[in-house]
Amino acid sequence: MFVSEGTILHADLDAFYASVEQRDDPRLRGRPVIVGGGVVLAASYEAKAAGVRTAMGGRAARRLCPDAIVVEPRMSAYTRASRAVFEVFRQTTPEVEGLSIDEAFLDVSGLRRIAGPPSEIAAGLRREVRERVGLPITVGVARTKFLAKVASGVAKPDGLLVVPTEKELQFLHPLPVERLWGVGPVTAAKLRDRRIFTVGQLAGLGEATLVSLLGQGAGRHLDALAHNRDPRSVQTGRRRGSMGAQRALGRGPRTPAALDAMLAGLVDRVARRMRAAGRTGRTMVLRMRFTDFTRATRSHTLARATSHTQTLLDAARRLLATALPMIEERGITLIGISVGNLDDRYVQPALPFAEQDGVALDAAVDAVRDRFGSAAITRGVLVGHGQGLEMPMLPD
């Protein structure tokens, strides 16, 4: 039994936002809970049982589950809970790769002698999170990251599933193809046309057939996954390659001035995060989603990396200006920016020009927001507009 367990854990909090709400309000326990009045941000397992799904419209969700209790999101509570859970992760093993606020890979190889086999470590982890943070968490244990994630998906909610190394394919092959990373509705439909329903059937096709069916990238990727070939190791301390923020908009026309104000709010938010993390970026990307659900991005790379709000905003504004005709024509439902090409080690500061500098302004605004909260100081154009929800995320 010694070598039969993989050492990679995939730990995933169950219905994270909804679980935090149920933890903090006893009246919600055991009842269907929907977080988010408009779009569903999260649904408790009781609500999921009625068919409620994340990102569903609020009205549709209430129709499916009329007894659901709808609560407003409390992002700061989720951030606190996430920090506490990651603290447990890091006490379990230093090898933690956070995937998002409620999900991480842990590598527990090398801990056998001090903490026991991975299955025991995983059980202990679940107990700790339950006792110290009060939240249910599901853990999958396997030899590869991919299979650990599949295992936690199968074990949800509040479960633990260990895939022994000699039974990997036995576990994997009966699963539906949708369990594989990268198989969405389109790929699944293509495979269904070929009467491919399970991972085992997919594995039987062979790489060449898959490549001809799905293209080179996807074909190779799925063939590797179907045979549980996933050489990626748990990456700790990997720094973000980009930072971004986005905002969903309702349908209906938006004036260029309103879009410009939202853009300014997004840039403020991202630039502040970049400065807090000591990062600078060179590439500004503008993301848009249109009323027909198509998406487009526009990007501009600056000559130098910066975290200066005004410089980033100027770049974003130029992108928005070139995209306005497209927005006019297709209607915009989401606007987002991200700053990529992040440099982290050294920043060449600019000479201290008295006027057009603004670095001092950024620092002053950051200090006010750190002390009094994000809403304490805002741009004139954003007064009375609200910022949209600031989603909690992993520390940068």
Binding site: L302, A303, R304, A305, D314, A315, R318, D343, R345, Y346, V347, Q348, P349, A350, L351, P352, F353, A354, E355, Q356
Partner: protein
């Protein structure tokens, strides 16, 4: 139009005008050079609405007239011609060029579509061509190349009586050169922001011709927003950049310093070059000054590292300061002096590099300001 011209004179003239032509012209005629013959001389001109250049060449003219041909093509052809007199004639919609036994026929573009070149502004004064070329090159190195910050891509020319100051900065380093010139109006007080690339190209081509360069700068009225340079048979004009909000950069030079080092320029350039081999694009070289001299280091704890000690005389508290290696080398090489004096306030404030003679005495006229990179160790 029909004329005979010396091969070298033609090749030089065409090469100079064609150099400023746009590679992707907004309208096709702007890719052309204009050849215009009148009164026994040939004017070769190019213009892209920003920069115009014109050379007058002596010829044996048979018939006056004008023709517009592709500048790039004519420049390549004239450069490759044998050393014999060149006969050029406009024949219908073509230009015939004969040199020795080589014969070329080029299509022409309609002369009447070509914009007229801007008039030269009134002369403001003259300056030694070679000294001007050197001064401009010393300063243009610090100008920005990021077109999204147009103001930083210019060299600020400050005319004040018989003194010219040239300043340029890309926000990370700043170069300033002051020199004498001969203004028409001894009370002149004018500022202009000239595109650094144009200014440097112009000064570089006029410098080796020797003699004086006439600088023409309008003060209100016709030619506003334009600067002109002429020397011998050449003249060029350039549109100015909007410098109304140019920051008060002179005030960036610290009023006093707390530490000062004297180092050999060629030795420091060589050491920085060598050590910087392990520095990635954004990583600084570290200069540690102390009573024993200078140690230059680069590289991180997990990457390749390099260090080298060298001689330096230093006064002040020991200091470690980081610089972008290229900015440092740019400054040192443009001192045009055997010794550099580096003055520091502290490791986070801009440092000044000044040229000094062999005896360590600072030579006035040029200063290079460089913003350090903060390094936490």
């Amino acid at each position: 139009m029909k004329f005979r011209v010396e091969r070298d004179a033609l090749a030089d003239a065409v090469a100079w005008t064609a150099k400023s032509l746009p590679s992707r012209p907004s309208v096709p005629v702007l890719a052309g050079v204009m050849l215009r013959v009148s009164d026994g001389s040939l004017e070769v001109s190019g213009f892209d609405y920003e920069v115009s250049s014109q050379v007058t060449v002596e010829i044996q003219g048979d018939a006056d007239g004008a023709a517009l041909v592709s500048g790039r093509l004519l420049a390549e052809i004239t450069k490759a011609l044998p050393g014999k007199p060149v006969d050029i004639a406009a024949v219908g919609a073509h230009l015939e060029l004969v040199c020795g036994s080589a014969r070329f026929t080029l299509p022409t573009m309609p002369v009447e579509d070509y914009p007229s070149l801007p008039a030269m502004p009134a002369s403001a004064g003259t300056i030694d061509a070679a000294a001007f070329a050197t001064a401009v090159a010393q300063v243009a190195i610090a100008a920005g190349r990021d077109e999204t910050l147009p103001m930083m891509t210019g060299v600020r020319v400050e005319l004040s009586g018989s003194n010219i100051a040239l300043l340029a900065t890309d926000r990370y380093r700043l170069a300033m050169r002051e020199l004498e010139w001969r203004p028409e109006d001894p009370e002149i007080s004018l500022n202009a922001l000239v595109p650094a690339r144009t200014l440097n190209d112009t000064a570089k081509t006029l410098g080796p011709l020797g003699g004086d360069v006439t600088m023409a700068l309008a003060h209100g009225g016709a030619g506003e927003g334009m600067i002109g340079f002429s020397a011998g048979t050449r003249r060029t004009t350039s549109r100015l950049l909007d410098g109304a909000n140019y920051p008060p950069v002179r005030s960036l030079f610290p009023a006093s310093h707390n530490a000062e080092a004297r180092v050999s320029v060629p030795a420091l350039v060589e050491v920085v070059r060598r050590v910087a081999l392990v520095a990635e694009r954004t990583t600084p070289v570290l200069l540690s000054f102390g009573p024993d001299g200078l140690v230059v280091e680069a590289g991180g704890s997990e990457e390749a590292r390099a260090s080298e000690a060298m001689e330096a005389t230093f006064s002040g508290e020991p200091l470690t300061i980081g610089f972008n290696p290229q900015y440092l080398i740019d400054g040192l090489q443009n001192l045009l002096a055997p010794t550099a004096v580096l003055s520091f306030v502290d490791a986070f404030k801009p440092a000044v590099i000044s040229p000094a003679a062999d005896d360590g005495e600072i030579v006035s006229g040029y200063r290079y300001l460089i913003m350090p990179i903060r390094v936490t160790r």
